[in-house]
């Protein structure tokens, strides 16, 4: 017998032993295709069509998507952690989410007594997989699911136009002029749309208001006018929707904070504005339809409050925020606590049971040092935390610690 004959026989024998694929392969493929198209639409804003790995996003769009997972278990790069980096240098990711970048804010006093909050952004370079400082002209950056495109606003907000930034080249490939000045843009979970929140004044600028006598101090103001939905692929801007902030009270005091942006909900079918806890009421959300009218909370999100993570991808759990001693995971329909996780601030679901969160350093976590925290991965039903970074510190030249920007990878 020759070696090539044995190769042939061994291959034939191995092939003959295989059964068919497991489960609903067609369903998984078609769901993966829908997901891929959603990403491509986001990428199409750049005029690029990039290959996208299957099953990397956990977004429920319709029937079958719940089965849109990789054919086999966790991905090879399921957790990419750098627990030695207090300021991230290298790509951090867990499950379906990755850290597209981070921002650092600072308050800059202005000559007229105003105070301006300025953000500096550091974005992932897709080639080197390291974080690099973004151009200082960007006042706002929102990275799309897939981490190939970002929507950017320039100059002092509110901005007249929205740029589509190719994260590989650092170039803006399209400008969208919505017709209203906007100070925030956010991507829908499927990356097909943007919601842009319009303001008359910069919500990051606290305005000096004369106080008693000659004393002035910068205060919040309410200048939000509404929002617009924008199709990312075509750049089509939908009609302006009027959602103003409350007016100042009889004493001229504005109830709340200047920046109250419009956000997409869990599945991108409704919009909400987060309201801070006040007057004994927990934080809550004001809900709107995509057409601009007020509406009630979706059944699965009626207990959703401040935590950005919100509902798990399969809708089983609702993340709540807690403190240095941990946080509650709730039944989304009843609001009852069903589990606890050993983290304080829940940022994003990595999959149906795992959360990327901020948790205080256990060595120093005495119940009061909650701001000395690090990015971690926690699992519902487990007390274990997986550090993704070291305890956060301020980047060189800054006073405040960095804020992670998480999105579907």
């Amino acid at each position: 017998m020759n070696v090539d004959q044995l190769v042939r026989e061994a291959l034939q024998e191995q092939a003959a032993e295989q059964g068919g694929p497991r489960g609903d392969l067609v369903g998984r493929v078609l769901a993966g295709r829908r997901r891929r198209r959603a990403r491509t639409l986001a990428g199409a804003a750049l005029g690029t069509v990039a290959a996208v790995a299957v099953g990397v996003t956990a977004l429920d769009i319709g029937d079958g998507d719940k089965d849109a997972h990789p054919a086999s278990g966790p991905r090879a790069d399921d957790v990419i952690a750098h627990p030695d980096q207090s300021v991230p240098r290298d790509f951090v990711a867990a499950g379906n989410v990755g850290m597209a970048g981070y921002s650092v804010s600072r308050d800059v006093p202005q000559g007229n007594g105003d105070e301006l909050l300025v953000r500096s952004y550091f974005l992932l370079n897709p080639e080197t997989r390291k974080y690099e400082k973004a151009d200082a002209k960007w006042a706002w950056i929102a990275v799309a699911p897939g981490m190939r495109t970002a929507a950017v606003l320039e100059g002092e907000l509110p901005a007249r136009r929205i740029g589509m930034l190719d994260l590989r080249t650092g170039k803006v490939t399209r400008w969208i002029t919505p017709g209203h000045r906007v100070a925030a843009v956010e991507w829908s979970p499927d990356g097909r749309r943007l919601v842009a929140t319009a303001y008359r004044k910069n919500p990051d600028r606290k305005v000096a208001v004369p106080g008693n006598g000659s004393v002035s101090w910068p205060k919040h103001h309410g200048s939000r006018t509404g929002y617009l939905l924008i199709e990312a692929g075509s750049g089509h801007v939908g009609p302006f929707r009027d959602v103003p902030q409350p007016t100042p009270d009889k004493h001229g005091m504005f109830p709340g904070v200047s920046r109250q942006d419009v956000h997409f909900n869990h599945d991108g079918t409704r919009l909400y504005v987060q309201q801070y806890a006040r007057q004994g009421r927990k934080s809550y959300r004001d809900w709107y339809t995509l057409n601009g009218g007020p509406t009630s909370a979706p059944a699965a999100e009626k207990h959703a409050g401040w935590p950005k993570a919100g509902l798990s991808p399969d809708g089983t759990y609702l993340a709540d925020d807690g403190g240095p001693n941990g946080s509650a995971i709730r039944d989304p329909r009843t609001g009852e606590q069903v589990a606890r996780v050993p983290s304080g601030e829940q940022l994003a679901w990595a999959d149906n049971k795992r959360l990327v969160a901020l948790a205080c350093d256990p060595a120093r976590c005495t119940g009061k040092d909650e701001h000395r925290n690090r990015l971690v991965l926690v699992t519902v039903g487990s007390k274990k935390t997986v550090p993704l970074t070291a305890v956060r510190t301020a980047p060189k030249g800054y006073e405040r610690v960095w804020t992670p920007m998480l999105t579907a990878r």
Binding site: V3, E9, A15, G20, V26, G32, A53
Partner: protein, 184 residues
């Protein structure tokens, strides 16, 4: 994809997925999970071009091969596929065909994906060198030299194969040792 196309796609997958998975398992050196991922990715690509594909099976197979070779080239250069155990020595009765096939299978799993892909195309699919070159997007000379090197590598991985005679491909090694060029 409209409803009619979706029905045709479903019919294709249901009728051909078992055969395609067999090829994928061979390409991944027996790693069933990696094979299912490989096939699923290839089918997602096929679904995206479904109405423009004349021969779906040939298209999916080409994607399987190129994807496997590309994935290796892009992410794990110069790395071999790891297996839990080294090829077992067959002992004194190495002439027994079944034992030799076990040895051969373990050795195949330790080849690079590129080497294994060429052998699967040549000896499992029984394709001529020109067709292998077309599928992988490389020259015939590269196919010939890769085949020769792969067979030599099998012999070095499994000394038990010394009892076998040389393959035709081993008898006339090519001087073309240019690297495989694969276009996505």
């Amino acid at each position: 994809m409209d409803a009619e196309s979706q029905d045709r796609f479903r019919e294709f997958v249901e009728s051909r997925s078992a055969a395609l998975l067999r090829t994928a398992v061979l390409l991944t050196g027996g790693d069933r999970h990696a094979a299912e991922d490989l096939l699923q990715n290839a089918l997602v690509k096929a679904a995206g071009r479904w109405n423009r594909i004349d021969d779906p099976e040939a298209y999916v197979r080409r994607i399987l091969y190129r994807q496997q070779v590309n994935r290796w080239r892009l992410k794990w250069p110069r790395r071999e596929v790891a297996v839990a155990e080294p090829p077992e020595r067959a002992g004194a009765d190495t002439a027994a065909g079944a034992e030799l096939r076990v040895v051969m299978r373990a050795a195949l799993a330790r080849l690079t994906p590129r080497q294994r892909s060429v052998l699967v195309l040549r000896y499992f699919e029984d394709l001529p060198e020109a067709d292998v070159a077309r599928i992988l997007g490389c020259s015939v000379g590269t196919v010939r030299s890769t085949t020769h090197r792969s067979l030599a590598r099998l012999r070095s991985l499994a000394p038990e194969l010394a009892v076998l005679g040389p393959a035709v491909a081993e008898a006339a090694p090519s001087s073309d040792i240019s690297p495989v060029e694969v276009r996505p």
